[in-house]
């Protein structure tokens, strides 16, 4: 699905007063689904809102579908769909009323009734926006982003705070959008969301992209897999390391909790267990974990993502 970039951000800088929210950020997103991943305050929303034309860059350039989002806003707006992190609806409007309204602003909108059913908004009935549940408000915002049949959709934390069922419904819709040729830029701080949906992931921290690639590429970038086991504290990690292949690492993370990182295959597992046998160690727990985006993030930033 790689082709002409839908979003091209070069050396973007955005400051609010003395605070630098985005600090020389480069990002190229092609067709398909691109996840912008990072902790709160990393600059995700500022970056996306600059692409949507809300903010003027202090430095750098932004092109969305080849257009300048500020100077060519009129040409760009009909072609994009935007889901804000919150709000965006008259507090006295009903869900279907607002969705129908946004549909009327577009030349070839989706069938509103089908979209309402698809996103489970039919149950909102005559309830006005301010009395809808958080999940219903969010699904309405998602519907408003797609109803105009855009080429590119921006979703700012589309599943934050959703229950698992609603979350899955949102994911399904994103997959359908992708399958029908709609490009999606989504910000999230959920690793699994990025792994599930994205063709491409850009990890942002402190206003810069610190890594970008497919989820597989990013996970391969660090140690491939992790083997963890628990035993008595203070084992001789140096002796374990000698038994392991050269490209492996071993460490006692907390007393009694050990991690071996490297190419974890059956041979490695056998090596670790036989080392344990030789040293009279009974591992109470032994597990093999796939290296996740969460680990990548932790390695790159030294920070927990959901801090």
């Amino acid at each position: 699905m790689r082709s002409e970039p839908v979003v091209q951000v070069q050396a973007l800088v955005k400051r609010y007063g003395t605070k630098t929210a985005v600090d020389g950020l480069d990002l190229v997103a092609g067709a398909g689904v691109t996840a912008v991943l990072g902790p709160n305050g990393a600059g995700k929303t500022t970056t996306v809102e600059t692409c949507e034309g809300y903010r003027r860059p202090d430095a750098g350039t932004v092109r969305v579908l080849g257009l300048d989002p500020v100077r060519q806003a009129a040409a760009l707006r009909p072609r994009i769909g935007v889901m804000l992190q919150s709000g965006g609806v008259y507090s006295g409007a009903r869900a279907d009323e607002m969705l129908r309204h946004v549909a009327k602003l577009h030349a070839h909108p989706l069938d509103v009734d089908a979209l309402i059913e698809r996103l489970g908004l039919g149950s909102c009935g005559r309830t006005t926006y301010r009395r809808l549940s958080g999940g219903q408000q969010q699904r309405l915002a998602l519907a408003m982003a797609v109803v105009g049949r855009p080429e590119l959709v921006f979703l700012d934390e589309p599943t934050a705070g959703l229950d698992p069922q609603a979350r899955r419904a949102t994911w399904d819709l994103v997959r359908d959008l992708r399958a029908d040729g709609v490009s999606v830029i989504l910000t999230t701080h959920y690793m699994d969301e990025a792994e599930q949906l994205a063709d491409d992931v850009a990890i942002i921290d402190a206003g810069r992209v610190i890594a970008q690639g497919t989820p597989e590429e990013l996970c391969r970038g660090g140690a491939e897999n992790t083997l963890r086991f628990s035993g008595r504290p203070g084992l001789d990690v140096g002796s374990l390391l000698k038994a392991l292949p050269a490209d492996c690492t071993a460490a006692e993370l907390t007393p009694g909790s050990y991690r071996v990182a490297g190419k974890v295959d059956p041979q490695l597992l056998a090596t670790v267990t036989s080392w344990c046998a030789q040293h009279g160690v009974m591992p109470d727990r032994i597990s093999v974990e796939r290296h996740t985006l969460e680990d990548v993030f932790l390695e790159l930033t030294g920070k927990e993502l959901r801090a």
Binding site: P78, R79, Y90, G92, L105
Partner: protein, 258 residues
Amino acid sequence: MSTTTSGTYAPKPGAAPLGRMIAAQAALETKMLLRNGEQLLLTVIIPTLLLVLFSSVDIVDTGEGAAVDFLAPGVLALAVMSTAFTGQAIATGFERRYGVLKRLAVSPLPRWALMTAKTVSVLVTEVLQVVLLTVIAFALGWSPHGSPFAVLLLLVLGTAAFSGLGLLMAGTLKAEATLAAANLVFLLLLVGGGVIVPLDKFPDAAQSVLGLLPISALSDGLRDVLQHGAGMPWGDLGILAVWSVVGLAAAGKFFRWE
């Protein structure tokens, strides 16, 4: 949650024709206004009550002639202020606060078209108000004079002046501050703007200042025409024109969308 056939979401972007967008936006804004109880209190119930109450009970000395002949023009001015200034300021302030303006800003609807739609919505509401208040005033024995054209011009310029001030407030203050300030200003101008209390009840010094307020110019102009059958009240129209230019220019310059 049903599945959809493939191709449902295939991109087919485009803005609706401008006229259709503006009509849809104006219809929605008007619907939101008429659905809002507090807004109706301000735009319909208070002007109606004041008209009926002060026409039937002799509380304020309204000078010579039937009380309703003095009150109806003032209440029409109040109706314009309640919709174009107070109602619009509060509604727009909360739209700004709840991200409605932000969301619409990335829709195909241009900003000028949104403001046009808001104006249409204000005018539609005013027509409803004027019809209702006129019917009630006639029932109370009102006998208006003057040129309908002069009245229309006053109402339109009054709307422009109050819209500018209302949008200036909504676009610069927090929604809660707008709510409080818009209601306070409504009350102060109701009392001090010649709506139900004749300006000549105030001390001379106060009169000359109060006379320059948009509400005083509007109620005085309407009264000159409708009660006294005057021609074009150029002085009042001039005051309203100045307020319109200053208010709308300031709103255009200082309005913040987020």
